[in-house]
Symmetry: C2
Amino acid sequence: MKIQALKGMRDLLPAEQSLRDYIQGKILETYRAAGFERISTPMLEDMENLDKSEGGDNLNLIFKVMKRGEKLTAALASGDPKELSDMGLRYDLTLPLSRYYAANRNELPNPFKVIQTDRVFRAERPQKGRLREFVQCDIDILGDSSPNAEVELIDVTTRALLNIGFTGFTVNINDRRILRGMLESMGFAPETLDSVCITFDKMDKIGAEGVRAELTEKQLPAEAINALSDFIAAGDVTLDAVAARCADPAIADDLKYVLSTASALAAGRYAVAYCPSLVRGQGYYTGMVFEVTCPQFAGAVAGGGRYDNMVGKFIGQQVPAVGFSIGFERVCGILLEQGYQIPGAKAKLALLYQKGDDFAAVLHQAEALREQYNVTVLAQGKKLGKQLGQLEAAGFVGAAFAGKEEIKLFSERN
Amino acid sequence: MKIQALKGMRDLLPAEQSLRDYIQGKILETYRAAGFERISTPMLEDMENLDKSEGGDNLNLIFKVMKRGEKLTAALASGDPKELSDMGLRYDLTLPLSRYYAANRNELPNPFKVIQTDRVFRAERPQKGRLREFVQCDIDILGDSSPNAEVELIDVTTRALLNIGFTGFTVNINDRRILRGMLESMGFAPETLDSVCITFDKMDKIGAEGVRAELTEKQLPAEAINALSDFIAAGDVTLDAVAARCADPAIADDLKYVLSTASALAAGRYAVAYCPSLVRGQGYYTGMVFEVTCPQFAGAVAGGGRYDNMVGKFIGQQVPAVGFSIGFERVCGILLEQGYQIPGAKAKLALLYQKGDDFAAVLHQAEALREQYNVTVLAQGKKLGKQLGQLEAAGFVGAAFAGKEEIKLFSERN
């Protein structure tokens, strides 16, 4: 039998699990204090729902569950591989939330401020840092179309990050519609915008000429390429400059409002920045998008945006929605790497008993010691000194002995 | 698109999720105080491992995940439906724990006292009370062959149940080997024992004659049937009477030790009883088995047993192991039904703001109020009286208003 966890999935050792539980607890505490309420949905969703969810590349990464019994027999007979599966493991928490809201909205408050934190699955090609099963930590506001919803999500998410000891980060904000409006006005066709954005996003690294070269290689229209690289070459890509090329001024006004209000709330504890090239991968985003980055780590530690059309797909009636997701694996990985210690954890004590001791009395003694310690009951080994050394190495602060009052603290031993 | 959760799986509304989080937290607190450490493993396991795991009927209930890409193409070409799947959703937490221990044992303490609490999946025929996705809450001790491991699991699990307000339960204990030894000595063939046990388990309801009738209907050997029904008819089925028909007296001694020690620990807070017909379904149990039942609810709220051969399948070397699992869904369902209230939860307050208010200042005010309340920031509605009524109905204790110090507590309103 195979003893390793499946590729791209992880067994968690006790120390890492404790850290994760602590961090998840702190994040939940911050979210709940802000009036957000936790829900949960099944790990599995209907395959048709997943297929129609505009999840971008993630739709190619769905783990599909096979039909069972007679339905499987019928599917096999049909010869169509698409028929073999009726449900799939969720690739994010946004599609399930939209379905959930549609199903349960009569019992939910309006606006609905909601927490989800649980596992999602993506059949990524296994490689370093790419997990196939990972935890997301999301908050969403459904039923509020005002940009205050964006501001509140940014406020609460950044407070959660600060509360777990995360510092030195930047909240990057953009509105997809402004960026896409500008690129379309320059002559790029709508279906090429994703590809253009990927190149545009590299402007800080490769400069106006680099952008021009890469877009030319992608065989995009020369006129549009010239317009974009001239625009970049002209100096700082400011929100005003981009907005001037976008049709609807209200979109830029809302973005400015979110940027200035979030900056005021940051009060210097973190940075808030307009990021003209930010788009986020998911196809379901309809307006503002945001991302938290740290200069010392590649990639984002949190990301989100507005997705006003997703719930409407289920109920035929638009429900404004915006969400912000903390990349839990990434955040935990960074904190672990930095040698994070859980503050205020109860000290571990071993209670050693010997063969023949009254075991019920031993367990009573353990329970009494638990006022002060987390107490592990263990049979005393033949070599006590060696056993005590192992316990100390495993993080125990000391040992007590069955039937005796004295506690031997390792810090007092000489 | 389909808005309901998949059959046999559940969307959890905020109130139920809060209760579950609270109960899980209390259970974890009890387990951790006793020196047990939480780990986690992936939801998916290798299909071959699952197939070979002696999970009894559960092996027929595995949700299988389809291969992807070229491997799927090859599997389809092979024409063998068994080839289509390479992994499956776990049906319990015991197989994954055994694999985990095999993979990570060099980094784990000995004995290893471990907590697992997470979702498992079984493709049950959907019906009331049968979930296809549900949470189990397990503790296990690996590396301890003494019956003190059984005693400790019973002590810690019952304390967890008591700590969440569960009372009036009985811990039923048996050793499979004693029961099977007696039945074999009476002339039942080993492969019929499961079926015999199911009938034997009904003796309290149907009596010796009922047992005789049902076993006769099952076409089992008349001589064995006579021996068993005479045995039941002779009076109370005591441990001594059963043990007298079993070859190894040490097995009965260990069972008596666990029964008497667990009774001493119970100190009248719950009952501990020998249950001669208890077997538990899983094929992997090798010795003692236990189950917690409540007279007012059908079925068990917790169950477990010793499984000394499971880890050995992975590493070719026996590792003694025993586990106890709380049926989390059942326990939460019962507590919800009883109108359980979460003690000491922070009160919910709404902070209402109006269009044009400085939203950064509103969020600052909310943060200050969070010293005392969980504070939800909401836009003030056009009809304030109606909005306040809705908030009160939703469990808020009162409302504050942007820029004002006063807090309107609903309990003070007249």
